[in-house]
Amino acid sequence: MKPIRFGMVAGGLAVLGLVLWLSSTTRAAQRQCPPFHLKTEDGKIINPLTGENADQPYSSRQTCGACHNYDEITQGYHFQQGWNKIKDDYSKDKPWVLSDGMMGKF
């Protein structure tokens, strides 16, 4: 009985390890961008191999935005740099200051 039990436990652990390993590699793979189509700002596919729209620059909004939430990402302060707060009467003490970021701050 004892060798059988040991074999079952070892086998079970091996299966569990395999599952965990597979799931971890799957998560890692999800973090990497799989091959993707470049797209023009009109959302058309760019395929240099066929020449399809191959004279157009790619658009990150259309290309990356196909999988990622482009509008949410660009709410970050690196993208806004004060633009989400900019207004002509932002400061009474310093009327030349229009926001607190690089775009509008003096």
Binding site: P35, P57, Y58, H68, F79, G82, P95, M103
Partner: protein, 744 residues
């Protein structure tokens, strides 16, 4: 940045379109304003939320309007700069090529070119329509591109912007063996301290790409996110985040840890030249690299070792900073506000003034004489006439904490600069952390408190071109509130007291040994004998005992502080803080005992005429033979000792009690108090050593008077002859009274 709505072209400084494509065309790969913006936001949508290219195509007349988003723009041809994911996530991204594309107004082509996925030819600025040739080797047969994107972004990509801007602000560099960082050398990268944050209360999702940040002294960008999801030095090093070692700081005074930011000690120097300041006199931004130590650096970012200025941060701690000193121009308008002059306005004035000033270096004129300043301000008076954005023309030059203007006669008037320009905040320095062994304090207190140390005596430039055209400097300590005299008093401790105190005390002990072997102890026989006299009452003996024990403890703990002796500290205490508390608590006991001792012995310590004879005969301690000297209950030497130690106790008590509250006191007071405390502690110790010698082996048996309080009659007669006479007289009077009482 120009306002959205303008009523006159004079009001428009730099439009959004110019902002994106700005920068010196002679250095196309160096970023202008738009270079350090990854796209999206204001590079994609105008202030009304419309896409620039779409709006301008629909309304071409906007380019002729005074709209700050569209004035003289070419969005319809350049396209917009969408958020460039590759600038952060693609290793090998060509940042210089991106800048080149932006300066050619190839906004929508910039990422395609800089990412290397395609070649872009043509320039919108030269009325061409750029063309793209994609690199087919990056594409699969199905037309999908394969890119090895990095998550999180590699530090190299963060450096595109942050090395350029932060080397100027604070001498920052990363992955740089010259300007090392201990965290970097342990393999850490930007995203480990600055990860993407999420905060439900602030409604921030991880996908929003807001990164954990600390507190930036000068910048106001996203102040609401300061320390959100960010681990401070203390948090990492107390929690052991990523294996961060937990520091004990045993050799560091506790109040230093309260008053100083970690960076103050752990970033003792930077090794890339930051900016000392900037000068816009020519109408261009001219960055001036570090000038101190002389001869200064030749350009920003070059290998150059400098030490920072120190300034109190908003959170109240002293921290290393680098304030960029401005040479700047404003116009004080009718409303009393000092409006910054636009670069084009300054350039126009400079063009008018340059021929009269004739500077040796026309690209960096270094205006500093009243004549030069007068010519420049006069040029502004002329060139700003008719400028429709001002109602009054009053040009001002701001330089080195001073503001210069013209009086009614056209002469230069100098005043302290209390305007917003003169309000200098330093960029805090928080990277390029040195290993602990190189931190200030690692070699002892002298790292900061010695004569040569930068902390107080380092020279900080406060005016890039002083009256003689050379940099004007001020001692570092003075800039953060330590008066020069207080520093000189304080550095006396490190320069003279610490090195020589032990030697002086050893010489004293040696002299006492010589005295003992040469003069020898006084030969009074001190044996138990009948009819001994009570010399000290129990209250006196206890007071002396408490005072003596307290003094020994104070001397031992004081020695730890005096020499920063970590070995002794670890032997007796858990932390420097506990040693400090122990020291001042024992100090309070000592002061109380000192007061009691003065009360107990003040009457006996009054000087009387025969004390002069004692002093004249030097107490009988010199000359090689025993001499009879008159003395009361206390001899003249003991009286001097009592009053001397009373005075010393007062000094030590006052300075010590003040230092209990040192965290709330100005630096100048603390410097003064600690030096006085240390200096008189040495004198006190010397006096007590001499006292202990005289009270023990120099006068055998004297010690017993403090144990059971009794002395023999022979001893009393020899050492305290006048007191002994008083005792005999008292005894005789008592016997007489007793006898007469019995007879009655």
């Amino acid at each position: 940045m120009a306002k959205k709505k303008n009523s006159n072209p004079d009001e428009i400084d730099i439009t959004v379109f110019e902002w994106v494509g700005s920068g010196d065309p002679k250095t196309p790969e160096v970023p202008g304003c738009g270079g350090c913006h990854p796209g999206g936001g204001g590079l994609e949508y105008d202030r009304d939320g419309k896409r620039y290219d779409v709006a301008l195509k629909a309304n071409p007349e906007l380019a002729q309007s005074l709209d700050g988003d569209y004035y003289k723009s070419h969005w319809d041809k350049s396209g917009v700069v969408e958020a460039d994911c590759f600038i952060c996530h693609l290793p090998g991204y060509d940042y210089g090529l991106r800048n080149r594309q932006l300066k050619m107004w190839n906004f929508k082509w910039a990422s395609t070119a800089a990412s290397g996925i395609g070649q872009v030819r043509g320039s919108v600025k030269e009325n061409q329509t750029p063309t793209v040739v994609y690199n087919k080797r990056l594409f699969n047969e199905d037309g999908k591109i394969v890119l090895d994107l990095s998550y999180p972004p590699p530090a190299t990509n963060c450096n595109f912007c942050h090395s350029m801007s932060d080397v100027k602000k604070r001498g920052f560099s990363w992955n740089d063996p010259v300007n090392y960082d201990i965290h970097n050398s342990r393999g850490m990268n930007c995203a480990q301290c600055h990860p993407a944050i999420e905060d439900k209360k602030l409604k921030i999702t991880k996908e929003m790409h807001n990164f954990a940040k600390g507190q930036e002294n000068v910048s106001t960008v996203a102040d609401n996110l300061d320390f959100v999801g960010f681990k401070t030095c203390r948090q990492c090093h107390e929690q052991g985040f990523m294996g961060a070692p937990r520091p004990r700081h045993l050799s560091i005074r506790p109040n230093h840890l309260e008053k100083l930011a970690c960076e103050t000690c752990h970033i003792p120097a930077l090794h890339r030249a930051a900016g000392e300041g900037f000068d816009v006199t020519t109408g261009a931004m001219v960055n001036i690299p570090k000038m101190e130590p002389p001869p200064g650096a030749k350009k920003l970012g070059q290998e150059f070792t400098w030490q920072p200025r120190f300034q109190y941060l908003k959170r109240g701690k002293l921290a290393p900073v680098n304030p960029l000193l401005p040479v700047f121009y404003t116009n004080k308008d009718k409303d009393g506000l000092y409006y910054p002059l636009f670069m084009q306005e300054i350039k126009t004035a400079w063009t008018a003034a340059e021929g009269k000033i004739k500077p040796p270096n026309p690209h960096r004129p270094d205006l500093h004489t009243p004549e030069q300043i007068k010519i420049m301000l006069t040029a502004f008076k002329t060139t700003l006439q008719g400028n429709k954005r001002f109602q009054a023309i009053n040009p001002y030059m701001h330089k080195g904490g001073k503001v210069y203007s013209l009086d009614d006669k056209g002469e230069v008037v100098e005043a302290e600069d209390h305007t917003w320009v003169g309000h200098l905040e330093g960029f805090n320095i928080n990277h390029n952390v040195a290993p602990a062994t190189l931190a200030l304090g690692a070699k002892g207190c002298g790292d900061c408190h010695s004569r040569e140390a930068h902390m107080f005596k380092g020279q900080i430039v406060t005016d890039m071109w002083g009256p003689d055209g050379k940099p004007l400097t001020v001692s570092s300590g003075r800039l953060f509130g330590c008066q020069p005299w207080a520093f000189y008093v304080n550095q006396f401790h490190q320069t003279y007291l610490s090195p020589y105190a032990s030697i002086i005390l050893l010489i004293l002990i040696f002299a006492l040994v010589l005295h003992y072997t040469g003069q020898g102890p006084k030969g009074a026989d001190f044996t138990y004998e009948p009819a001994e006299i009570l010399r000290f009452r129990l209250s006196e003996r206890w007071t002396h005992l408490v005072r003596m024990l307290a003094f020994i403890l104070l001397a031992l703990t004081g020695y730890i502080f005096f020499y920063n002796n970590v070995t002794m500290l670890r032997l007796f205490f858990d932390s420097p803080q506990s040693a400090v508390i122990f020291h001042w608590m024992v100090g309070l006991i000592f002061i109380a005992a000192s007061i009691v001792s003065v009360v107990l012995w003040a009457k006996d310590a009054r000087f009387v005429p025969y004390d002069w004879e004692w002093l004249r005969k030097q107490g009988g301690y010199f000359g090689g033979k025993e001499v009879e000297v008159p003395a009361g209950r206390l001899n003249a030497g003991q009286k001097i000792f009592l009053w001397l130690t009373a005075a010393l106790s007062l000094i030590m008590g006052v300075t010590g009690v003040i230092m209990i509250f040192k965290d709330s006191l100005p630096l100048t007071i603390n410097c003064l108090m600690s030096t006085i405390h240390g200096f008189f502690a040495v004198i006190f110790l010397a006096a007590v050593i001499a006292h202990a010698y005289l009270g023990t082996i120099a006068n055998p048996g004297t010690w017993r008077a403090l144990i059971d309080g009794k002395v023999g009659r022979k001893w009393a007669k020899k050492h305290h002859s006048e007191w002994y006479k008083e005792i005999i007289a008292q005894e005789a009077a008592a016997k007489s009274a007793e006898k007469s009482g019995a007879e009655e």
